[in-house]
């Protein structure tokens, strides 16, 4: 039991150190603002973007979700909710759980969009489970976006650098884009009464930061990068032979969101 004693000792020392530095740092912070600007506060994650004030970036961003890596922890959903204060019951991103039994029946669920994680196994599967996996979903950032096509007032649009955004000062809240999106990525925000959806964290990307869901994913199942950068992971994944696909390719929307290891059961 000596080791445990030592551990406690060690922990106590760490704790005191923590308290001291925390207090000191905390009290210092009360007096000296650490600077509101992000420069310096957060290290740049996408090189060469911060400080670029041109309307559109030169980068060609793509998003890749690795279905084979996702553990369904829902960190991404929590981060997303934190970043945007998404009203309950609406989802900018969500994580689906697929269960396939050995009779090839597919069972999918997504309680509260995966926001609370997956803590219970499904109990309604009649046969032994053959395969099970998680599939995170978000805005597909289509190159041929249906939502932009149908918006009657030009409140939702595609930027030249590939982001599809909603102008909440102009959206009339008709809901046509919600009907038109093949991926159900959109919802009507009950607070602003305008259409809302995932933006791939446009405001973060413009600051040289990764989308918040990519930043928090502990298993690197969400990858965001620039196809113009030949050394980027996304470039390598997309340009080299991999099992990679998009959702509902038959819709012809040409998403910029790709899935690594996507199974055919996924809609």
């Amino acid at each position: 039991m000596i080791d445990i004693e030592k551990e406690i000792q060690k922990d106590r020392r760490a704790f005191i150190k923590n308290v001291l530095s925390g207090t000191i740092a905390g009290s210092l912070l009360m007096v000296i603002p650490a600077g509101a600007a992000l420069d310096g506060a957060i290290p740049e994650q996408i090189p060469g973007v911060r400080g670029d004030h041109s309307p559109f970036l030169k980068n060609q961003f793509v998003f890749i979700v690795d279905v084979t890596a996702c553990i369904g922890c829902g960190s991404c959903c929590v981060a997303d909710k934190n970043e945007y204060n998404v009203p309950d019951g609406n989802y900018r991103t969500w994580v689906e759980r697929y269960v396939i039994d050995d009779h090839d029946e597919v069972f999918v669920d997504c309680p509260n969009g995966g926001l609370d994680g997956y803590t219970k196994p499904r109990t309604d599967i009649p046969y032994p489970v053959r395969d099970t996996f998680f599939v995170p979903k978000l805005c597909n950032m289509c190159q041929k976006p249906s939502c932009v096509q149908v918006c009657p007032v030009g409140a939702t649009y595609r930027t030249e650098d590939g982001f599809i955004l909603v102008d909440k000062k102009r959206c009339v809240g008709c809901g046509y884009c919600i009907q038109a999106c093949p991926y159900s990525a959109r919802y009507l925000n009950p607070v602003t009464k305008t259409a809302d959806k995932c933006t791939w964290c446009y405001h973060r990307v413009r600051e040289g930061l990764l989308p918040t869901c990519v930043n928090v994913c502990p298993v690197h199942a969400r990858k965001f990068g620039d196809l113009n950068d030949k050394n980027s992971e996304v470039y390598k994944l997309l340009r080299e032979p991999h099992v990679i696909s998009v959702l509902k390719p038959g819709m012809g929307n040409q998403p910029a969101l790709h899935y690594l290891g996507l199974r055919r059961e996924v809609v």
Binding site: G89, H103, D104, V106, D109, C110, S146, V172, I178
Partner: protein
């Protein structure tokens, strides 16, 4: 589903709805919108049958149906405005219409149609208005003067000019009524993400059901108004309306069934979702109500009424009943398309549910109020422009 091949594996094995699909965004208001514009387009076509195609038997309702169309057209935007998250921004649709949006044209098509309809009414009613204006005093005199567009000239020469303009307006009015309502169908038919909506037949079905509902609406209101005011009903007119109703309803019903049948026959992966929808959540409202009760029964009743010579009293007894059934059929059709289409999740694996509430913003009560409004407006219009009067300001019938 014991052996799963490619398509089967994605079929609805368990009810899974995308989290954002739980809520039905387009509810009662968007059911009413095509219903009201349909009544407008249909009533206008009744009037055009007389004014353009010279179906003389329809003379008694020719003027009335224009006013009927106007009353409903005034209210056509109300459900939309009530539905919008930001109705105060509605004018953006006119200000910055997105050329690629199927919805952006509505403001313009609606306005253009409104102008044509109002002009046609003003020209047709001008001699009557002038005659009434001479008898009226005070405010009414002023109103009639405005409605006569500040002209008291009802000379032969003036009326001849008016006739030419009326013929022109009625002629462009028909394609416009078709565009107005075919276009409403296209708003749904152009949404590829929704397999129940995405069919080129959608504009056609909307247009035909519009004609059907308009004619039925005219029959009901004509007989009702005649009865309560103790006037004599023109049986020949009702008989002719019934024949047209049957004709349009044959086309309407056949195309509605063809649409389902072609989905079924082509059996793409969408059919698996649609099949589940039609045999599940939509079974009662579609197969039982819309098809079984309110299509098949009126279909045969209308057929009998058109082919067999009924006694006048029997004809006038059945005509409003069958017309009301048709009106319900069209309302059910709007419901099954608008709400039904949204019940299917885009997950292709399940359906959500929808039950309208009474007192919510887009609930049943607002819907009823919006449907009562055109009737009230029609009554007010009737105080100014009498429905059953001819050019000299003399009561007809």
């Amino acid at each position: 589903m014991s052996v799963a091949v490619h398509g089967d594996a994605v079929a609805a094995a368990a009810n899974y709805i995308f989290p954002n699909d739980l809520h039905v965004h387009w509810s009662l208001m968007i059911v009413l919108y095509p219903y009201i514009t349909g009544l407008v387009a249909g009533a206008f076509i009744v009037s055009s049958l007389y004014h353009v195609f010279h179906i003389k038997a329809l003379k008694p309702v020719a003027r009335f149906s224009l006013l009927f169309a106007l009353a409903f057209l005034i209210c056509a935007t109300w459900p939309l405005l009530n539905h919008l998250g930001h109705p105060e921004r509605a004018m953006s649709m006119m200000l910055t219409p997105n050329p690629t949006s199927a919805m952006a044209g509505f403001g313009y098509i609606y306005t253009a149609y409104f102008i044509v309809l109002v002009l046609e009414i003003l020209f047709i009613f001008r001699p009557t208005v002038v005659a009434l204006g001479q008898k009226a005093t005070g405010f009414m005199k002023m109103l009639y003067s405005v409605l006569a567009i500040g002209s008291d000239n009802v000379s032969e020469r003036a009326l001849k000019l008016d006739q030419k303009i009326i013929a022109f307006l009625a002629a462009i009015g028909i394609p416009m009524a078709c565009v107005l309502h075919g276009y409403v169908g296209f708003i749904f038919g152009g949404i590829k993400a929704n397999p129940l909506w995405a069919t080129p037949l959608m504009p056609l079905i909307f247009l035909l059901s519009a004609c059907v509902s308009g004619i039925a609406g005219i029959i009901v209101t004509y007989i009702f108004l005649m009865k309560i005011s103790g006037r004599k009903i023109d049986v020949d007119c009702v008989q002719t309306l019934i024949k047209f109703l049957w004709g349009f309803f044959i086309l309407d019903f056949v195309f509605e069934m063809l649409e389902i049948f072609s989905h079924f026959y082509m059996a793409t992966h969408h059919w698996h979702t649609l099949e589940a929808l039609y045999s599940g959540p939509l079974f009662t409202s579609f197969w039982v109500a819309q098809v079984g009760v309110f299509s098949v029964i009126p279909f045969f009743v209308l057929m009998a009424m058109s082919l067999i010579k009924f006694k006048d009293s029997l004809l006038l007894f059945i005509a409003p009943i069958v017309s009301v059934m048709i009106l319900i059929q069209v309302l059910l059709m709007r419901w099954n398309v608008v709400v039904g289409g949204q019940l299917m999740s885009k997950s292709e694996r399940g359906a959500t549910t929808f039950h309208p509430m009474w007192f919510e913003k887009e609930g049943i009560l607002p819907a009823i109020l919006i449907m009562i409004a055109p009737v009230v407006i029609l009554w007010i219009i009737g105080k100014v422009l009498p429905f059953w009067m001819d050019d000299d300001g003399v009561e007809t019938a």
